[in-house]
């Protein structure tokens, strides 16, 4: 699940959001732009698309953009809203993106449709929730052959919680495997939505896209009437850093108007700014004179850092502040931590700079400096989940050309010490002496797994092995939906890989954090040649420790090359060894024949060997290859 730079295709230069891909001089050239900011509320529709990965969300967004002529044909490319290379390659959306569509409806009226394309993955549920809060309706896209999947559920429930009207869209109806009636029944049964008026489309061929646009206009509500026309009240939906424009803030106007030159105040941070520029995303940034009630748009105001903006904050006029602030959002909390270290210690400053740059645009990712006896200087980083972790690692490797070692991912434990203090533990290496700990609590999740029933048995077994508690099991046709409560620490290890492997990729999985529970957790250390390797220590449940320890030792035995002496590898809890392997000493390594002509060749070999040594980490007398730190966490399916 974890990768480093070496395993990935060579990095490309960082891409910016499409908003700044055009020269500023070209902005505002479209004559109709100024007219559209006067759109009455009744002619605005703000909506999101929720879907499981691969069900066609981004393709549908592409078609909507194309059909409404927001981009010229030559500017169109697949997944136009997914600007990052990683998004495009993996076919996923990581950052929410916004596009304003102009649509002349069948009723002869002109509408403005604001689409916020949201990430599908649970790690980015936070992005989803704030995007949903800026809209009144959602399109629920379901693959007509695959049906409802775990992520569909999680996201659609969020939309329902946000009081969204929902239009069900069945995609890929042109495929031979499409089973429209079955999937409609599933939507009704599993989600509880009326699917009789579902729009049947093929985003690939364009079939039914016109009906989607009509359904947006006729079935989704217009923004509600607010307190009145004045003063300005806007929701801060998102913000990002643009190399040319500085911090760009995405807002949803609730009341009043936002215009250039206005002095605004952010209520949460109590900061004042003068608006430099107001615009909309088509998805290119186009400057407009002002944004009116119900609209979604962006502004810049010489804000220095993304960290100066708080997502969910209420923006108002400085002189005439709104009386009531919006409820706002809870800030995103990192749930998974791991150490990131440069392979070459000399790259530490580069890593610091790279992490700082990524953080500029991703406030949900946290970091602090960490020193490891094994790996030197690096950073302890916090992530929203495993995909988030993987993506940050991959971006560091590609966009900044850094080779990294990642330590075992760990969750945040809560410890009550015997003196009554409560602390959070982000790094197993920092665990206090066991005698000082009264209780340890670990985060649990509520997981939803949907799978063809052929794989159910194996999946249930996997969940049981991981200390899962089954809370529900239901069938929809031949698909089973099972919900489990699971300790997150069992999931970060290799759960997702195992699930994919035992279900041949057919199971889908989603989870949400479900609070902390006390657990019988112990710190397992790994000792190589009698020396503990801090980067490999982890907290495990006592019942799972022996098995985990044995697997770790066996893997390390294969990953560490033979040395001139034998090397014991041990897993231990406290002073007690629970698993042990031995790497026997190298038996023979000598060139039989070596004469005058062989010197050059041998020296070159020696130089290569010296290069190879640089890829090793020295622990006492033992050299451990860097990839061992990554490989040891992978468990074979």
């Amino acid at each position: 699940m974890i990768r480093t730079g070496g395993a990935l295709p060579l990095g490309m230069r960082p891409r910016r959001r499409p908003s700044i891909a055009i020269p500023l001089s070209r902005q505002g050239v479209r004559p109709y732009i100024s007219a559209m900011t006067k759109t009455p509320r009744s002619h605005i529709r703000n909506f999101s698309i929720v879907a499981h990965i691969d069900h066609g969300k981004s393709t549908l967004a592409d078609r909507l953009i194309q059909m409404t002529g927001s981009l010229e044909e030559r500017e169109m490319k697949d997944q136009v809203l997914d600007a990052m290379d990683i998004e495009r390659e993996r076919g996923i959306t990581i950052k929410a993106n916004t596009v304003r569509l102009e649509y002349d409806a069948a009723d002869g009226e002109h509408y403005v449709l604001n689409l916020i394309d949201t990430p599908g993955h649970v790690d980015f549920a936070y992005e989803v929730s704030r995007s949903l809060a800026a809209c009144e309706g959602s399109l629920l896209v379901v693959d007509a052959s695959q049906g409802v999947e775990a992520q569909t559920l999680a996201n659609v429930y969020q939309a329902i919680d946000n009081d969204h009207e929902i239009v069900t869209v069945l995609n890929k109806v042109d495929l031979p495997a499409a089973d429209i009636d079955r999937v409609k029944a599933q939507v009704e049964e599993v989600i509880g939505l009326d699917a009789s008026d579902a729009v049947e489309i093929s985003a690939k061929t364009g079939q039914g896209i016109d009906q989607v646009l009509e359904a947006i206009v006729t079935r989704l509500p217009a923004p509600p009437e607010g307190e009145g026309a004045e003063p300005l009240k806007a929701l801060l939906v998102d913000s990002w850093y643009d190399a040319y424009l500085g911090v760009v803030v995405l807002v949803r106007i609730i009341d009043g108007r936002m215009k250039r030159g206005q002095t605004i105040r952010m209520i949460g941070t109590d900061a004042r700014y003068q608006v430099d520029r107001v615009g909309v995303l088509t998805p290119k940034l186009v400057t407009v004179p002002e944004l009116g009630p119900g609209e979604i748009g962006v502004f810049t105001a010489s804000i220095k850092e993304v960290a100066d903006t708080r997502v969910g904050d209420t923006i108002t006029e400085d002189k005439r502040p709104t009386a009531v602030a919006l409820p706002g959002f809870k800030p995103a909390q990192p749930v998974v931590f791991c150490g990131l270290f440069p392979v070459d210690a000399a790259d530490f400053e580069d890593l610091r700079a790279a992490i700082g740059k990524l953080r500029l645009n991703d406030a949900s990712f946290s970091y602090e400096m960490e020193t490891s006896a094994a790996l030197g200087f690096g950073f302890r980083c916090g992530f929203l989940g495993l995909l988030h972790l993987e993506i940050i690692q991959e971006r560091l490797a590609r966009e900044f050309d850094l080779d990294l070692i990642a330590t075992a991912p760990s969750v945040v434990y809560r410890m009550t010490l015997t003196d009554g203090t409560v602390t959070e533990l982000h790094n197993p290496a920092d665990m206090p002496d066991v005698v000082k700990i009264a209780t340890i609590e670990e985060p649990w999740i509520k997981a939803t797994i949907m799978t063809p029933d052929d794989y159910l048995g194996a999946i249930l077994q996997l969940c049981q092995e991981r200390r899962g508690i089954q809370t529900d099991l239901a069938y929809v046709g031949s698909r089973a939906m099972v919900t489990y409560e699971l300790p997150l620490n069992e999931v970060v290890f290799d759960f997702y890989d195992r699930l994919k492997s035992i279900s041949k990729g057919y199971a889908s999985f989603d989870y949400q954090i479900d609070g902390y529970r006390e657990g019988d957790l112990v710190r397992m250390s790994i000792l190589v040649n009698e020396e503990p390797v801090d980067a490999l220590s982890m907290l495990v449940h006592r019942s799972a420790a022996e098995k985990r320890g044995r697997v770790m030792c066996e893997k390390l035995k294969d990953l560490i090359p033979r040395h001139m002496f034998k090397i014991p590898i041990q897993a231990a809890i406290g002073g007690k060894v629970i698993a042990r392997e031995t790497i026997s000493a190298m038996r023979k390594d000598v060139t039989a024949k070596c004469y005058g002509g062989d010197v050059t060749r041998k020296r070159k070999l020696l130089e290569k060997q010296k290069e190879g040594k640089k890829k090793m980490r020295q622990f006492g007398r033992v050299e451990i290859p860097q990839e061992a730190f990554i490989q040891v966490l992978k468990v074979d399916g």
């Binding site: 001139m564 190298m586 039989a592 005058g596």
Partner: protein
């Protein structure tokens, strides 16, 4: 550059003229073989039409004149004619080459002049001629003393032919060495022990005993990759090696290098030059030379074109076949010296290593190797690999090289 200590002051007067100095050797490479052996990755070529020895000898002479210009005047401590199969040369060709060496550099009387030969009777018939031409030490490619293994190794002679050639060579040359390859597929400790004992009974003053190595680009490599050849694993190979050391030293032929054994004083002077990191000139297709010029600290490397006819053409056009040159800085020389010197039982002279590299050996790495029992000090002046260290020497060197 003359900082060395004689390895053993009490040794009997050497047959090889060794004064403990690194020396200056001249190497001549004859690149042709009657057949290519499936394990061999040396620069050897099979020609189905007769090789024009006169044309090649002329080219050797031209290249030698060029190399002499590069080395300047030197006193030669040994000459070695290797291959390939030099015993495919007529004695006249050998004589021409040796005379040319003496014409270009100062060659004292009675220095070691070695030539490699195969034991086939056709080659053995020329032994007397080679002796007359000036060869005083023969190195025979025996490789095995049983017919089955000789066939497996692709050799053209049988065991009786080998015994006869050894006998004849002993009578013809003052000094003789022969090669055996062991750790063959299926070989046990017992059958190698008895074969080795027979070899010792046949030997004169020197034996080269190599463990079979699967080299890249050889027919054995392909067979090995396909799983059709299994050579003894690390455990058995290591035991075979240890046993070889015991048996040879019990019989008065102790190892003086990883794979070389000699009666004290009968070591190969020429090969000692390589292992002591002395200077050498290399003439002929695919030959390597390494030498310092005057008092300069750099060492020059010359590598000639490997392909015989291409080499010949180059010599005709340019007066030499050197295709590649390199200049070694002090650090590279220090590493190379260590790499070669630790192969020797006499070990490495630390003062000379320091003088060459311009810095002392990595003391921490050295101490770690000493603590592990891989390396030991010999007095204050030298270090050498221990018996345990020798079997994993490549790893030991990797630790010590900077």
């Amino acid at each position: 550059m003359t900082v060395w200590a004689s390895p053993d002051q009490t040794a009997p007067a050497p047959l090889n003229g060794d004064d403990g100095s690194p020396g200056f050797g001249v190497y001549l490479h004859w690149p042709f073989c009657a057949a290519k052996c499936p394990y061999c990755d040396f620069n050897s070529h099979v020609r189905h039409a007769p090789v024009d020895q006169t044309a090649f000898a002329e080219a050797f002479l031209r290249e030698m004149a060029h190399v002499r210009d590069l080395t300047g005047p030197r006193e030669v401590t040994s000459i070695f004619i290797g291959g390939g199969t030099p015993s495919l040369m007529t004695p006249e060709t050998v004589g021409t080459l040796l005379n040319a060496v003496a014409a270009h550099w100062r060659v004292p009387a009675n220095i070691e002049v070695t030539m490699e030969a195969n034991p086939q009777s056709a080659d053995a018939n020329r032994f007397a001629g080679y002796r007359t031409a000036g060869v005083n030490r023969l190195s025979l490619g025996v490789q095995a003393l049983n017919d089955a293994d000789l066939t497996f190794l692709g050799r053209l002679h049988d065991a009786d032919e080998a015994r006869a050639a050894i006998e004849l060579a002993r009578r013809t040359f003052p000094r003789l060495s022969f090669d055996l390859i062991y750790a063959r597929p299926g070989q046990t400790l017992e059958n190698w022990a008895s074969e080795l004992r027979e070899a010792i009974s046949l030997a004169a003053d020197h034996l080269s005993l190599y463990q079979l190595t699967i080299e890249d680009g050889t027919p054995f490599k392909a067979l090995h990759a396909a799983g059709r050849i299994a050579i003894p694993d690390g455990e058995l190979a290591s035991n075979l090696y240890a046993m070889t050391q015991d048996i040879t030293s019990d019989h008065g032929l102790p190892a003086y290098e990883i794979s070389n054994h000699a009666v004290p004083g009968a070591q190969s002077r020429h090969n000692l030059t390589y292992w002591r990191y002395g200077d050498y000139a290399g003439i002929g297709p695919g030959a390597h030379g390494r030498f310092a010029v005057g008092e300069a600290v750099e060492k020059h490397v010359t590598i000639t074109e490997r392909h015989p006819e291409t080499w010949l053409e180059r010599v005709r056009r340019h007066g030499h076949g050197i295709a590649e040159t390199e200049t070694l800085d002090r650090m590279a020389q220090a590493d190379e010296m260590l790499m070669m010197g630790l192969r020797l039982t006499e070990g490495v002279d630390l003062a000379r290593h320091e003088a060459l590299g311009g810095r002392t050996i990595d003391g921490q790495a050295l101490q770690a190797m000493i603590d592990l029992g891989m390396v030991e000090r010999v007095g204050n002046a030298r270090i050498r690999a221990t018996a345990r260290g020798r079997i994993v020497l490549d790893s030991v060197i990797a630790e010590l090289a900077q």
